[in-house]
């Protein structure tokens, strides 16, 4: 009988605060264990960005000037965003369709415990991914970085959390994994086109420049490019703050789509 009272008390406690560290860490730990079990996905997450950045370097190896120094940072900003968006939208969708989400929401779990748990786990993966990709770019491929290299990694992590947040959000609007993947061309490719990689942002037509100004990936790419050009970090922090703000907004939207009661 005692433990029943304890359970009831801990339920009251977790109902009072919007987030419980114990439950949040349990979610993060569980997601990481699942990833560890899925060796192929883990390998893709860690190795693929390194291969792609190397491919980019090789493409521009014979060209004049320092195109890689311009394009490389943009790719470093894009990869964690795209990959985490895909991984998260599919995993959360699986959680919704398998009934585990319904079970968790019938338990003393806050919506934020669930979302922040996911963000922590994928943020950690993104950190590992970025350390490798940035390490290879700077160490092996001679990417010139004027600013601090660790800040490059931080931008990548913020970017990955942004991808995670958006992925959580769109998973609410997809019934199948097929549909979830279709959200990528809708939400991600326009951001890639308008982030300043193909046409510098200031040279875009006015309307598109305005659109580019409200897309989070633009700020991530700006931050990366600034870091390679100058050692001044003030503006970089502003860009990081914008990306983090979008990520928080995405998590809030994601929380709004998690409903305990469904039809």
């Amino acid at each position: 009988m005692n433990s029943q009272h304890e359970a009831a008390r801990s339920a009251r406690a977790s109902a009072g605060t919007p987030i419980s560290p114990r439950i949040t860490l349990a979610v993060a730990g569980r997601v990481l264990t699942q990833l560890r079990r899925d060796r192929r996905t883990l390998a893709m997450l860690l190795v693929l960005p390194c291969l792609l950045i190397s491919l980019l370097w090789w493409m521009f190896d014979a060209t004049q000037g320092s195109v890689f120094d311009r394009v490389g940072p943009a790719l470093l900003a894009m990869l964690p965003f795209i990959i985490m968006f895909l991984v998260t939208s599919v995993t959360t969708l699986r959680e919704r369709s398998s009934g585990t989400l319904e079970r968790l929401l019938a338990m003393p779990m806050g919506k934020l415990d669930f979302l922040v748990g996911y963000a922590l786990a994928f943020g950690a993966v993104a950190a590992a991914q970025s350390v490798l990709a940035v390490g290879i770019s700077v160490g092996l491929l001679d990417l010139d970085v004027a600013g601090p290299v660790w800040l490059l990694t931080l931008v990548a992590v913020a970017d990955a959390v942004l991808g995670t947040a958006l992925g959580l959000f769109v998973s609410a609007f997809a019934q199948t994994e097929f549909q979830a993947v279709q959200f990528m061309p809708l939400l991600v490719i326009p951001q890639i086109l308008l982030c300043g990689l193909f046409v510098p942002r200031e040279q875009l037509p006015d309307v598109l420049g305005g659109v580019s100004d409200v897309l989070p990936l633009s700020y991530a790419v700006d931050a990366m490019q600034r870091l390679t050009r100058t050692s001044r970090t003030g503006e970089v922090w502003q860009d990081v703050a914008v990306v983090a703000g979008f990520a928080l907004g995405g998590l809030a939207l994601g929380a709004a789509t998690l409903r305990r009661r469904t039809a």
Binding site: A7, L104, M107, A263
Partner: protein, 237 residues
């Protein structure tokens, strides 16, 4: 000791424009209560309403003295959905440890529930590689973590070996004897005999309510299946 674990009053649920539950009034007390009816009759919807994950169109549900779905209740109800809701890519023990942490119960509970559903020899096996029956047992084990005052089990014995089915029903009765209310659904009529009390459901309404003996006597039938048929034809007349 409270009288009723569950009090459902004038409950209406609409799904996809169709009234799945119509003005339902039921109470569930102690012991093992069975909810029997053909698939699609609204059993799962009623169970979802009890655990507070179903949108209601009218009426109310009170569980253990609180409004169904209220935060204080969430640690006091054990719920098993019809699909085995465990993580396929984790082992049995990893699944249970995770849910134990969410519920805030001691990890020793994991060993207890693994024994209870007879999965001790499979505890380090990945759930996705187990049989359907083993998976639904792993899912059942999650609901037994903690010490729920109400256990809501949606078809927990589908496709299981008869020996194991008998053992699980014995387990449900032990849990009920220890003071919890157990609410089990099934579409297999021969499981009816194992319940203390039966609710027969058809098309969103309860058509009979009583102990298996009472229901058989009232209809003059030898088994619950023919009792069900007798009640349905009486209804139609």
């Amino acid at each position: 000791m409270m009288k009723n674990a569950v009090e459902v009053h004038d409950l209406v649920v609409v799904r996809g424009g169709r009234e799945v539950l119509r003005n339902l009034d039921i109470t569930i007390g102690g012991g093992v209560t069975g909810l029997l009816g053909p698939s699609g009759c609204g059993k799962s919807t009623l169970m979802r309403a009890l655990v507070g994950v179903q949108k209601l169109a009218g009426g109310g549900v009170r569980v253990l003295g609180e409004e169904a779905g209220s935060a204080g209740l969430r640690a006091r109800i054990g719920y098993v959905t019809q699909a085995s809701s465990v993580y396929d890519d984790l082992t049995v023990a990893e699944n249970l440890l995770f849910f134990a942490r969410v519920l805030g119960v001691d990890r020793s509970a994991v060993d207890r529930v693994v024994e209870a559903v007879d999965l001790a020899s499979h505890r380090d096996q990945v759930v996705g590689r187990m049989s359907g029956g083993q998976r639904s047992r792993a899912s059942l084990a999650v609901a037994l973590l903690g010490t729920p005052g109400l256990l809501v089990l949606d078809e927990p014995t589908v496709g299981l070996d008869p020996v194991l089915r008998r053992d699980l029903w014995a387990l449900f009765h032990r849990i009920a004897d220890a003071g919890a209310s157990v609410f089990v659904s099934s579409h297999v009529m021969d499981e009816a005999e194992r319940c203390d009390r039966l609710l027969l459901m058809r098309e969103g309404r309860i058509i009979a309510d009583g102990s298996p003996d009472e229901i058989r006597r009232k209809t003059g039938s030898d088994d619950i299946e023919s009792a069900f048929l007798a009640i349905v034809s009486e209804d139609a007349a």
